[in-house]
Symmetry: C2
Amino acid sequence: MPGSHIVSSEGIYSGRLLRLELLQVEGPDGRRREREVVRHPGAVAFVPLLEEDGQQKVILVRQYRVPLDKEILEIPAGTLEEGESPLECAKRELSEETGYRARRWEKLAEFYTSPGFCDERLHLYLACELEPLGGNHPDEGEFLQIEKIPLEELERRLKDGKLADAKTLIGLSLILCDNNKIKSL
Amino acid sequence: MPGSHIVSSEGIYSGRLLRLELLQVEGPDGRRREREVVRHPGAVAFVPLLEEDGQQKVILVRQYRVPLDKEILEIPAGTLEEGESPLECAKRELSEETGYRARRWEKLAEFYTSPGFCDERLHLYLACELEPLGGNHPDEGEFLQIEKIPLEELERRLKDGKLADAKTLIGLSLILCDNNKIKSL
């Protein structure tokens, strides 16, 4: 049975961040169907792990998210800029959003956030051996609060369903699952 | 400092699945900025856990995803239909996509897939004590292959970065992390 393939694509909207396209797709049955697709430049996110007061803590950001019209707690993240590598982007965002830099970066995962309708690909890292740079300086129009939360407390929140953001769930469960990773830090 | 709030919203596109809106948002600094927002009806996904040949296996689906123009492997999922509760939707999708029904459902998590630009909220379940119904029957226009993969093999793929879908990473890492959950099944 032959696979599905894209027959044509029509641009509906092209904005600051997103593009919306209407695609004609031919399925294995030979029929054509219309699909709405959101094009996204891709993003990075990272778990900044810090040793403070004899505890392992993660730096999270609390910020207002326009689509939800409320604040939520997430690991720091950012959108890829043109020509920027995912790791360069992560380093820039760590410094801008938290005011730290990391001596060690480790790739945790790479995944599509919602492949049914969008091509956004997210690169996820662990950032450790952090050094303060002297204050954060978020992008123009970005308003966020930093929270340093002990890893043990985050493990509880993960199990209790208190974390509402996909990349945050993935980053925290990957490092909490892998005990060897935590012990070796 | 007062928070951010939405001042106005303009509909750009309204399609079969998605709506695109352009929002004017006033920040804590009093300035107005424009934000592109994708409205999504919400979705469900679930980890169908099966005992077969003395092994615990998960039923995954391999399907062509239009935004990526390729096939990927994911846990079964579906979009909420109007008036449908998340659990009803999960039961319907389990039967349509895999040809099984579950005697036991457990909520694992609820999260936003990409809260920076989209309001999609995903309800994630564990489906266990599965019974075959006699063949799957996907929706019109949906072409997918079922793969039953041992939990041990999925644990390796999770650690090796071989899984490329956010909800699949969350579902599998939540059940693999929580050894008590697996043992009690």
